[in-house]
C-alpha cells in the first residue's frame, strides 16, 4: 500500500523530468482554468526556467522514492504527505499567476510540515516542526506582501504582465518589492540569517524526505529569487546583486563552519545545504551585478554556473542524505561519535557516500568541482567592471568561495573518515548491516549521476546557457572545443574533466607498472596498528569527531564562542583516583543569541503589555469593536 504511494511518486518524477526537459528545450505550454479559484483562477505555464526546476524535482524524486520503498516501505504514515509534497513541488515552478503560486507554495510547506513531524515522539521533532512552521509562514507573509504590492502597482495577478509592466515602476517600489520577495524566497532557501529552521527540520524528517527538502525544496527558493530578480522585476540596480553575492558568501562560509563542529550526520549535511545555497547565490549575485553594467555575457556565465551548482547540489546532497539514511537504517544512530568502521560492513553505502563527499568537496573530476570552477571563471573576470568598490566585493566572494571549498573538504574528511573508517566506536556500529537493494540502487544511481555530471560538462553547460539566456539574453562566453573541452572567454580558462579523468586513471596505473618493473616487493603483511607499545588496539584510541574539529574551533573561536565544561568525579577516598570525567565543548550560535532571542524577547514583552487590555469581560470587548468600527468609518 505504502509502496504503491512511493511508486506513484516515482512516476510523478519521471513525468516531471520529461515535461521539464521539454520546457528546457523550448517547448512552451500553458493551462488556464479561470473559474477554479478567485483572483485570476488557476494558471500554469512551462518555460525554460520553470522546466529546469521541474526536471530538478524529478531528478531527486525518482531515486528518493525508490529508496523509500526499502527504507519506509511498510510504513503508511506520511505517504500521502510525501506524494502531496512531490506534486506541490512540481506545480511551484509551473505557476503563472499569484493565486496558483501561493496555493502550490503553501501546500508544499504544509506537506513538508507534516513530514518533519513524521515521528512526534522523536526528541526535537515537535520543536523542529514548530520552528519550521513559524519561519515558513513569516516567509509567506513577506512573499504575499511583495506580490500584492507588485500586483497592485501593475494591476494584474499574472506573472507575464508583471514582467511587461516592471520597467514602469518607481525605483522605491521596485526595491521594496524585491526586498520583500527576496526575504521570503531566501528564507525558504535557508540563507543565513534566515536558516534557523533548516538544521532542525532536515534531521527530523525521514531521510528520503530530507533528500528532497535539501535537494529540491530549498532550491525552489532560488527559483523564486531568479523569477523575482530577473523576470518579474527586470534588471535591477547593482546593489541587489551586491547584497545577494555578499549574503551568498556569508552563508557559504558560516554554513560550512557550523557543519564542521556538528557531529550529527544529518545536521551536518543540513548545514552544508546552507553552504551550497550560498555558493549558488554567489553565482546568481555575480550575474545580478554584471547585468546592469551591460556585461551580459558574463552575467550569462555566472547564472549558468549557479544553475549548474543547483543541479549538482540536488544530485550529491540527495545522495549524501540517502547515504546518511542508510547509516541510520543500519546502525540506528546519527551520532558520528558512535559510528566508525562502517566501510567493512556497509561497503556499498560507504562507496556511494565517498562519491558524494568527493562531489560536495569539489574534488575533480566530480560534478561539484565543475560548477565551482565555472563560478570562479565568472567571478575572476570582474576586472571588466573597472569600479574598485565592486571589484573588492568580487574579491571577497572569491576568497569566501575558496575558503568554503577548503573547509568543505575538511568537513567531509571528518564526516566520511569518522563515520566509515577505522574501528567501530559502539556496539551499534559493530553490528551494522548493509542497506536493502532498493536503497542501494538509488544511491548507486545518484553516485553515477554525480560522476556523469562531472565528466560531461560539455553536454550540460550549453543546455544551462539556454535556460539562463531566457533571463539575461546574450551570447555565451563559453565555447565547446572539439567536444571535450570547455573554453571560457577565449583563452581565459579551459577545462576538460574527461581528459583529466583519463589522465588520473593513467597516473593510477603508471606506478603499478613502474613498481613491477622496478622489482618492488609485492608482498603485504597484515598487522595491528602500532599502538605506541600497547598490545591491544581499541576504538578508544581513535581520534573523535570532536577532536578532529578542534583546530577549527580554536582558529574561529571568535565565531564559535566555545564554552568548555569539565566535570571530574573523584574517588571518595582519594583525589588521585578519578572515577569519571565528563568533558563538553559546546558552541553557541551568534544568530540565536544576537538576532532571534532579542526579537522573540521583544515580541513576548509587547504581548505581555497587550494583555492589559484583555479583561475577559464581553462588554469591554464589544466596546473595543464599536470603537474600531467608528475609527474605520471616520478614516474611510
Amino acid at each position: 500500500m505504502a509502496a504503491l504511494g512511493f511508486l506513484c511518486a516515482t512516476a510523478v518524477g519521471v513525468v516531471a523530468i520529461a515535461a521539464g526537459l521539454a520546457g528546457v528545450f523550448g517547448r512552451a505550454w500553458t493551462l488556464s482554468v479561470p473559474w477554479l479559484v478567485p483572483l485570476g483562477g488557476l494558471e500554469l505555464a512551462l518555460d525554460p526556467l520553470g522546466g529546469f526546476f521541474l526536471a530538478l524535482v524529478g531528478v531527486a524524486t525518482i531515486p528518493a522514492s525508490i529508496y523509500a520503498i526499502g527504507y519506509a516501505g511498510g510504513e503508511r504514515r506520511g505517504v500521502l504527505a510525501y506524494v502531496g509534497f512531490v506534486l506541490a513541488m512540481c506545480v511551484v515552478p509551473l505557476a503563472a499567476n499569484l493565486m496558483s503560486f501561493a496555493i502550490a507554495w503553501e501546500l508544499m510547506s504544509l506537506a513538508c510540515y507534516f513530514l518533519v513531524l513524521h515521528d512526534p515522539r522523536e526528541p526535537g521533532a515537535v520543536r523542529a516542526a514548530w520552528v519550521y512552521a513559524v519561519m515558513t509562514h513569516a516567509g509567506l507573509v513577506c512573499l504575499l506582501a511583495g506580490m500584492l504590492l507588485l500586483g497592485a502597482a501593475t494591476g494584474s495577478w499574472r506573472f507575464a504582465d508583471w514582467h511587461a509592466a516592471a520597467p514602469g515602476l518607481t525605483a522605491l517600489r521596485r526595491d521594496a518589492v524585491f526586498v520583500l520577495l527576496a526575504a521570503g524566497f531566501l528564507g525558504k532557501a535557508g540563507v543565513i540569517p534566515l536558516h534557523v529552521w533548516l538544521p532542525l527540520a532536515h534531521p527530523a524528517a525521514p531521510s528520503h524526505v530530507s533528500a528532497l527538502m535539501s535537494g529540491v525544496m530549498i532550491k525552489l527558493g532560488v527559483y523564486g529569487l531568479l523569477r523575482a530578480g530577473f523576470d518579474w522585476l527586470g534588471a535591477g540596480p547593482v546593489w541587489w546583486g551586491v547584497a545577494v553575492l555578499l549574503l551568498g558568501a556569508t552563508s557559504s562560509v558560516i554554513g560550512v563552519l557550523y557543519a564542521l563542529v556538528d557531529h550529527d550526520l544529518k545536521r551536518l549535511l543540513a548545514f552544508h545545504s546552507i553552504e551550497n545555497i550560498g555558493i549558488i547565490l554567489i553565482g546568481v549575485g555575480a550575474a545580478m551585478i554584471y547585468r546592469p553594467a551591460g556585461l551580459e555575457a558574463l552575467a550569462l556565465l555566472a547564472l549558468a554556473a549557479g544553475l549548474y551548482h543547483t543541479l549538482n547540489h540536488a544530485a550529491f546532497k540527495a545522495l549524501l542524505f540517502l547515504g546518511a539514511g542508510a547509516v541510520v537504517h543500519g546502525t540506528g544512530t546519527r551520532n558520528m561519535e558512535e559510528l566508525g568502521g562502517l566501510i567493512k560492513r556497509m561497503p556499498w553505502t560507504a562507496a556511494c557516500f565517498l562519491a558524494g563527499s568527493a562531489a560536495i568537496a569539489a574534488l575533480p573530476p566530480f560534478n561539484g568541482f565543475v560548477s565551482e570552477w565555472l563560478t570562479f571563471m565568472a567571478l575572476l573576470q570582474n576586472t571588466r567592471l573597472a569600479e574598485p568598490a565592486l571589484n573588492l566585493v568580487f574579491a571577497l566572494g572569491i576568497a569566501g568561495l575558496a575558503l568554503t571549498s577548503g573547509l568543505a573538504m575538511a568537513c567531509f574528511v571528518k564526516a566520511f573518515g569518522i563515520s566509515f573508517l577505522a574501528l567501530p566506536r559502539s556496539e551499534a556500529a559493530a553490528r551494522a548491516h548493509e542497506a536493502p537493494s532498493s536503497m542501494r540502487a538509488a544511491m548507486v544511481a545518484l553516485a553515477v549521476l554525480c560522476l556523469g555530471l562531472g565528466l560531461a560538462p560539455t553536454l550540460v553547460v550549453p543546455v544551462l546557457l539556454g535556460v539562463a539566456r531566457g533571463l539575461t539574453g546574450a551570447t555565451a562566453p563559453v565555447e565547446v572545443v572539439d567536444g571535450l573541452t570547455l573554453s571560457v572567454s577565449g583563452d581565459f580558462g579551459s577545462l576538460s574533466t574527461l581528459v583529466l579523468a583519463v589522465a588520473l586513471a593513467g597516473g593510477l596505473m603508471l606506478p603499478l607498472v613502474a613498481l613491477r618493473l622496478a622489482g618492488a616487493s609485492r608482498r603485504v603483511r597484515r598487522a595491528e596498528t602500532w599502538g605506541c607499545g600497547r598490545v591491544l588496539q581499541t576504538s578508544r584510541m581513535e581520534y573523535t569527531a570532536t577532536a578532529f574539529s578542534n583546530p577549527f574551533k580554536r582558529v574561529f573561536d571568535f565565531f564559535y564562542r566555545p564554552a568548555k565544561r569539565l566535570a571530574i568525579e573523584f574517588h571518595p577516598e582519594s583525589r588521585l583516583f578519578v572515577e569519571r570525567i565528563e568533558y563538553e565543548n559546546p558552541t553557541r550560535s551568534i544568530f540565536e543569541d544576537w538576532l532571534y532571542r532579542p526579537v522573540l524577547g521583544t515580541l513576548s514583552a509587547v504581548a505581555r503589555r497587550a494583555r492589559a487590555i484583555q479583561s475577559g469581560s464581553t462588554n469591554v470587548y464589544l466596546a473595543y469593536i464599536l470603537a474600531m468600527l467608528l475609527v474605520l468609518l471616520v478614516l474611510a
Binding site: 567493512k344 568537496a361 569539489a362 574534488l363 575533480p364 568541482f369 570552477w373 571563471m377 575572476l380 576586472t383 574579491a395 576568497a399 575558496a402 575558503l403 571549498s405 577548503g406 573538504m409 575538511a410 574528511v413 566520511f416 573518515g417 569518522i418 573508517l421 577505522a422 572539439d482 571535450l484 583563452d491 581565459f492 580558462g493 579551459s494 577545462l495 583529466l500 589522465a503 588520473l504 593513467g506 597516473g507 603508471l510 606506478p511 613498481l515 622496478a518 618492488a520 616487493s521 608482498r523 603485504v524 603483511r525 597484515r526 598487522a527 596498528t529 602500532w530 588496539q537 576504538s539 584510541m541 581513535e542 581520534y543 577532536a547 578532529f548 574539529s549 578542534n550 583546530p551 577549527f552
Partner: protein, 313 residues
C-alpha cells in the same frame, strides 16, 4: 600532438626523477648550514629503493582507502607535472588552469587525510585534523594570489600566464607581483609541509602533520607517499619559479628550447632551494595555533596584491 606528448612525458620524467634530488639537495644544504656534513644529495633515491624492496605492512584495521591512497597521491602529482609549465609553457593537456591544479592538490590532501584516519590510531587522526586545517586555511590565499596573477595576465591558464609575463617583463616588476609572490611562497611552505608550519625532519607528535598522517605506511606504500610529497615540493617550487619569473620557459615544444628551459629551471630551482634551506635553518617551528596567524598574514598580502591591481591600473 606528438611534440605535446613528448613534452608532457619529459615533464613527468623531470618532476618524477628530479623531485628526490631536490629533497636531497635541500637536506644536504641544511646540514652544511648548521655545520654538519649530512648525507649525499642522492640519498633519497637510496631510501626509496630500500623502501621498495621491503614488504608493506598494512594494519588489519584499515580498508581499501588506505591501500589506494599512495596511488592516488602519485596520480595527482603526475597529472600536476603534466599541467604545470615546467619546461615549456604549453604542455600535453589542452587545458591547464591553475584552479584545477589547486583542486587537484586538494584531492590528494583529501585522500591522505582519510588514510590517516583509517588506521585508527590517535596519531593518524591528529595529523589528518591538522593537515586539513592547514590546507583549508591556505586555500583562499592560493586562489587570491592566483587571482592577482590572472588579473594582469588576463587568463587563468598557466601557459597563458607564463607567456604573458615572459613577453612583457615590466608586468613582473609590479608591486602586486611581489606581494603575490610573497603570499604564494608562504602558502607553499604550508602546502608542502615545510618549516615553520610542519617539520619534515622529525616524527615527534608535537610537531608533525604530514609525518603523523603517513605514520602507518611502510614498504612500497611509504615509498610512493614520500615520492609524491617530494614531487609536490618540486611542482610548487617550479610554479613559483616559472609563474613569477617566467624567463627561459620555452613557448615552443622543440628539443633545443626545451633543453634550455630545463637549464633555466635548474638555475631558478637552485636559488629557491638555497633560499628555502636558509629560511629553514634560521626559523623555528611555529606552534600549531600560531600557524593560522601566518596564513592570515599571507592572505592579507594576497588581498593587498589584488587591491593593488584594482587601484593601480
Amino acid at each position: 600532438m606528438i611534440a605535446g606528448l613528448a613534452t608532457a612525458l619529459a615533464q613527468v620524467l623531470v618532476v618524477g626523477l628530479g623531485a628526490p634530488l631536490l629533497v636531497g639537495v635541500l637536506r644536504t644544504l641544511k646540514a652544511r648550514l648548521v655545520g654538519r656534513r649530512g648525507p649525499a644529495p642522492w640519498q633519497p633515491y637510496a631510501d626509496l629503493r630500500k623502501l621498495l624492496v621491503k614488504d608493506a605492512v598494512v594494519s588489519t584495521t584499515t580498508s581499501w582507502i588506505f591501500r589506494v591512497t599512495p596511488y592516488v597521491l602519485v596520480a595527482t602529482m603526475l597529472v600536476a607535472a603534466v599541467i604545470v609549465p615546467v619546461l615549456a609553457s604549453r604542455t600535453g593537456l589542452p587545458f591547464a588552469g591553475i584552479i584545477l591544479l589547486m583542486y587537484l592538490f586538494m584531492l590528494g590532501t583529501f585522500f591522505l587525510a582519510l588514510a590517516g584516519l583509517d588506521s585508527g590510531s590517535a596519531f593518524g587522526g591528529m595529523g589528518s585534523s591538522r593537515g586539513v586545517a592547514v590546507a583549508a586555511l591556505a586555500e583562499p590565499t592560493v586562489i587570491l594570489a592566483v587571482f592577482a596573477l590572472a588579473l594582469r595576465a588576463e587568463t587563468t591558464n598557466l601557459g597563458g600566464i607564463v607567456e604573458r609575463f615572459a613577453s612583457e617583463p615590466r608586468l613582473a616588476l609590479d608591486p602586486a607581483h611581489l606581494l603575490a609572490f610573497a603570499a604564494f611562497f608562504i602558502v607553499m611552505l604550508a602546502e608542502t609541509g615545510r618549516l615553520p608550519v610542519d617539520n619534515p625532519a622529525t616524527h615527534l607528535e608535537l610537531t608533525m602533520i604530514h609525518g603523523a598522517m603517513v605514520l602507518e605506511y611502510s614498504g612500497r606504500h611509504l615509498a610512493l607517499v614520500e615520492w609524491a610529497a617530494a614531487m609536490k615540493l618540486f611542482v610548487f617550487l617550479a610554479l613559483l619559479a616559472n609563474l613569477f619569473f617566467p624567463w627561459g620557459v620555452s613557448s615552443l615544444v622543440e628539443p633545443v628550447p626545451v633543453l634550455l628551459g630545463l637549464l633555466a629551471l635548474a638555475g631558478k630551482l637552485a636559488v629557491l632551494t638555497a633560499a628555502l634551506a636558509v629560511l629553514e635553518t634560521l626559523m623555528a617551528k611555529l606552534r600549531l595555533f600560531r600557524v593560522p596567524e601566518l596564513l592570515a598574514g599571507s592572505f592579507a598580502l594576497a588581498l593587498l596584491s589584488v587591491t593593488a591591481v584594482f587601484l593601480v591600473r
